[in-house]
Symmetry: C2
Subunit: 314 residues, 2 copies
């Protein structure tokens, strides 16, 4: 059995996972958000102690601890280089876990970890070359080449959300213009819709530009499905640029499968069909065997399962 921990902004979710990637037990420790690393580490230890006590009671042997973090992890040194929304900079998370528990400890970025979960138990199971892209508030990625996580020479890769695919009307949080994240995230969809309503485009989703601020990404997808003009334009734009981003991934890495996860992927076939058409027309090689596009199967559990399975993909 392995322990998998999903580090989030307001909680640590931990689980005991068997070698098949099934969760046997979970426990959650809430945090107060930006309360400083020392206090948060203390809560993490409480969580792991709890998981180990459960394992002991069940006579399960724990072989490793895996952690997914919402930021940059240095796999070699087991440091968290930074997590902006936790206020962590160069914290020795992995080293401290290893020192306290004496177990092999693995860490990686949460999008990479979610991709591993899909490989272990989801839509990319048994696939040697895959790319996972999470489309939520932001856009993140995980790349698996020949069955191994590929985050590059300095573990700074798989930042698919910051691939520049065009010019955009607003600047990305990273400081650049044109990142995929500013076209294909839920945030991007809402910003584009807001802009259209401010420009007077037709919609039935709100009465004025002020009202557009209350319209969610789901509202916009539902509106587009129902033929709402401004919502359709926003979704069409998202599909075009996501198609460009996916074509860039295929033309560069040619994975067997690209798995799409995160809230935006829940728009389902309505979105997937448009995105796939935009992607396919931009592929260099349009004949013969092709990359498949699939919707991720795991959602809330992906963080725990992927973290637990990290050991297999290093």
């Amino acid at each position: 059995m392995r322990i998998g921990i999903d580090v989030g902004g307001m909680s640590f979710k931990g689980g005991i996972v068997n070698p098949e990637g099934e969760i046997l037990y979970t426990h959650v420790e809430s945090t107060a958000g930006l309360e400083g690393y020392a206090a948060m580490e203390e809560k993490l230890f409480i969580l792991v102690d709890q998981l180990l006590a459960k394992a002991k009671a069940q006579a399960w042997t724990i072989e490793s601890i895996g952690v997914g973090v919402p930021g940059l992890a240095d796999v070699e040194s087991n440091m968290v280089v930074y997590c902006t929304n936790l206020g962590w900079n160069n914290v020795p998370l992995g080293a401290h876990l290893k020192a306290r528990y004496g177990l092999p400890t693995f860490m990686d970025n949460d999008a990479t970890v979610a991709g591993i979960a899909e490989s272990a138990k989801g839509c990319t199971k048994g696939v040697a070359n895959s790319v996972f892209i999470t489309l939520g508030t932001g856009v993140g990625g995980g790349i698996i080449v020949n069955g191994k996580v590929t985050s590059g020479a300095h573990n700074k890769g798989s930042e698919i959300g910051h691939m520049i695919v065009g010019d955009n009307f607003y600047t990305c949080n990273c400081g650049n213009n044109g990142c995929l994240e500013t076209f294909a995230s839920a945030t991007a969809l809402m910003k584009d819709f807001q802009r259209r309503i401010e420009a007077g485009e037709a919609t039935a989703l709100c009465v004025d530009a002020n009202g557009a601020k209350g319209v969610t990404a789901k509202d916009i997808f539902d509106g587009a499905k129902a033929g709402d003009p401004a919502a359709e334009m926003s979704v069409t734009r998202l599909a075009k640029y996501l198609g460009i981003g996916l074509a860039n991934v295929v033309n560069m890495l040619d994975p067997e499968v690209i798995a799409l996860g995160g809230g935006v992927s829940k728009a389902g076939d309505f979105l997937l069909n448009q995105v796939e058409a935009e992607m396919r027309k931009r592929l260099v090689f349009k004949e013969g065997d092709q990359t498949r596009l699939e919707i991720a199967q795991l959602s809330n559990d992906a963080g725990i399962i992927g973290a637990a399975m990290l050991a297999n993909y290093k």
Copy 2:
């Protein structure tokens, strides 16, 4: 010893290469271009016969044959799927070589092969994770991850020249708009310069728009170095979009080194410094260890050396 063959539009260049990647002997067979596959295969056999005769005379043991082709090779089946400028479609090049000579036979795209040459004997020697980008008439790429060539699940990857990085004023040969190749190749530079002269921008390189057609990429780089206004604008634009393309590669794959080869790379530090600045400012992670940008060391010999060394990178 290995045989390496560089398949080009007008000739087959062959060489005998030692395990250190040094060429011991070369031989060239000219072709008449689009003369059909059967006639060209005959010339390829003449070339290999000649190389094997030389090896026999020198008492060198030949262990394998490697071939670099200007198109898409199916590594598993040893088929050339297509080479547009040779008029080849699904030709059994590898299988026929193997049947005739009974030696292990390897094939790949010429840009990938040139990248391997750099890894064997050039600027990426000893580097496990590298990306090679050739900037010539077009833009090609070769990706090495953990010491192995990575062309994806269907060998259709590493098409870095067709990564879409913006909107452009002309369409790529592949049918799409915005490919890196249409911004960063020698062809792209000349087209951009032509467009500027047609629009009346100032230059000392030609007297009118008609004259701009005789201006080479090298003329434009030399002009930019000397402060020619239109040439400077064209080079600045190339550097910006090449910087975006390289940043996308780093943010996705984080290689230890990106090696730039091909005619455009001969513009040297003048271009490299601009491109590097454009790349660095678009990286997600700007601190700590970073991808290095280098100019490829091998030029005309890269095709033979890389083809001969293919066996090591599969």
